[in-house]
């Protein structure tokens, strides 16, 4: 059901901008979840340019802002996995 809701959200969204499908996020656990949720509203280069200078707490703040201020339809149960992927792969304390 959750997957269906997500699919519905993606379907009502405007088509992706030319070029953005070439963005490939770093391999890692949670990547598909992050891609599916974040690109409902924006292209994934938003993640790339805002790296690697946010720590886990700041990435959590960013995800929370997306939900609370911008109304991003992210299932609260997925937030920890999204934050972990972002801070691990695009954070100031990430290893890659």
């Amino acid at each position: 059901m959750r997957a269906l809701m997500l699919l519905a959200a993606l379907l009502i969204a405007a088509p992706a901008a030319a070029g953005e499908q070439d963005i490939v996020l770093k391999e890692g656990q949670g990547r598909d979840l992050v891609a599916a949720n974040c690109q409902i509203c924006h292209s994934l280069d938003y993640i790339e340019i805002n790296s690697p200078f946010l720590d886990q707490k700041q990435w959590e703040g960013t995800v929370t802002k997306m939900i609370e201020r911008y109304g991003a339809p992210i299932d609260p149960a997925n937030v920890p996995a999204i934050v972990t992927y972002l801070s691990t792969n695009y954070g100031s304390q990430g290893t890659p």
Binding site: I12, E20, H42, E48, I49, S51, P52, Y70, G71
Partner: protein
């Protein structure tokens, strides 16, 4: 290019350096793409060698991803609100023919221009130098349009909405307000023409607000609705977005109806300057005259002096100021010297007619606005 930075400004984050690339939107030359959707593209440095920024190189900044192609045959501007006597609607031709047409050259600069250079970096679009441009705008005075509809004495703010919107309904629509005094300023325009051409789609076709001196956030694009209000407008994009901590910046213009205890809306631009030639890291000929040139601008108080140092800030000499296209325009400047062989640290600092100048270090603030420290580049003469 050069210096291993790709197209981006030296000093932006490693992630920005890796992600940003030159991409051409329809009708535009390749610009520095920071995000595809919403589109955020900055103007490469070389275009600032011209005092007026070409339309096809003018930066693009949107908050929301749906940017309709407006059909001017059906488009109308609605003017209303509880503090307006009689609401009205205008086609573009009615605006053009119904009011005096005026032109002004003015800098349109994003509040967050150069945010990407903040140390430590702060989240947001990681702009380098190019989230700005200077153009000759033609339109009608907002004051004339509002006066015709009758502004009531209780008018406090005027809000502006454009045709752009978000992909999902829960995202706040991009609506901005101005204090009534700024809306009624004779320089605040409703413009359809940019550098003698129809406004590009990406810069607000068919009509945009022009607020000379104030940061780009107020220059609402694809305008559809103007409301004169007796109460402060409470939208997200006025509060908490686009806020400065109180007391950190020596700004003149106040937006008191929106001020909170600890923060206040961003208002006018701070004094700033940019070296456009030579570029950072350039190799130049020793013992031959070298022209250092660039632009300076502020909120419209006008340039007093632009000073250049070629010895890392130990001594400063005035640059020659160039063509004056009005107090809201970029002001070109140039400075000649003969570099001896070796490395030279070149700096520029503008001072306006209020005596406001550029700090040595940026003034930290959460969103990285008003980034205007003295610029420093290195060149090698051989």
């Amino acid at each position: 290019m050069g210096g291993g930075h790709g197209p981006v400004t030296p000093g932006v984050s490693a992630g920005t350096e890796a992600s940003a690339r030159l991409v051409a939107l329809p009708g535009k030359v390749p610009l520095i793409k920071l995000s595809y959707r919403p589109p955020n593209y900055e103007t490469p440095l070389k275009y600032f060698n011209d005092v007026l920024t070409p339309n096809d190189a003018f930066f693009v900044r949107f908050h929301l991803a749906v940017i309709p192609e407006v059909d001017v045959a059906t488009w109308k501007l609605s003017v209303g609100g509880d503090a307006l006597t009689s609401a009205a609607e205008y086609t573009l031709d009615e605006l053009k023919n119904g009011f005096e047409q005026v032109e002004i050259v003015a800098v349109n600069q994003c509040s967050g221009n150069r945010r990407g250079l903040a140390q430590p970096h702060v989240p947001g679009i990681q702009w380098g130098y190019g989230a700005m441009g200077n153009a000759r705008w033609k339109g009608v005075r907002l004051k004339d349009v509002l006066d015709k509809a009758g502004v009531k004495k209780e008018a406090l703010e005027v809000s502006f909405d454009g045709a752009d919107h978000a992909l999902i309904g829960q995202t706040p629509d991009f609506v901005k307000s101005l204090p009534i005094w700024r809306a009624l300023d004779e320089n605040t325009l409703l413009a359809w023409d940019m550098n003698g051409e129809v406004l590009p789609h990406w810069n607000g076709y068919p009509l945009r607000l022009v607020v000379p001196g104030w940061t780009g956030t107020y220059w609402v694009k694809l305008l559809t609705t103007i409301d004169v209000r007796s109460e402060p407008f409470g939208g997200f994009w006025m509060n908490p977005a686009y806020r400065l901590p109180k007391g950190k910046f020596a700004l003149v213009d106040r937006f008191t109806s929106q001020a909170m205890e600890t923060n206040t809306p961003i208002t006018e631009m701070v004094v700033n300057s940019l070296i456009t030639n030579p570029v950072d890291g350039a190799s130049v000929a020793a013992s031959k005259p070298l022209e250092v040139k660039g632009i300076a601008w502020d909120a419209g108080f006008g340039m007093q002096t632009v000073d250049v140092s070629v010895d890392g800030g130990q001594s400063w000499r005035p640059a020659a100021l160039g063509e004056d296209l009005g107090r809201f325009s970029f002001r070109p400047w140039s400075y000649q010297f003969v570099p001896v062989a070796g490395r030279h640290v070149v700096m520029v600092k503008a001072t306006n007619r209020l005596g406001q100048s550029q700090p040595r270090e940026p003034i930290p603030n959460p969103a990285g606005y008003h980034h205007n420290p003295v610029q420093t580049i290195s060149i090698d003469a051989a």
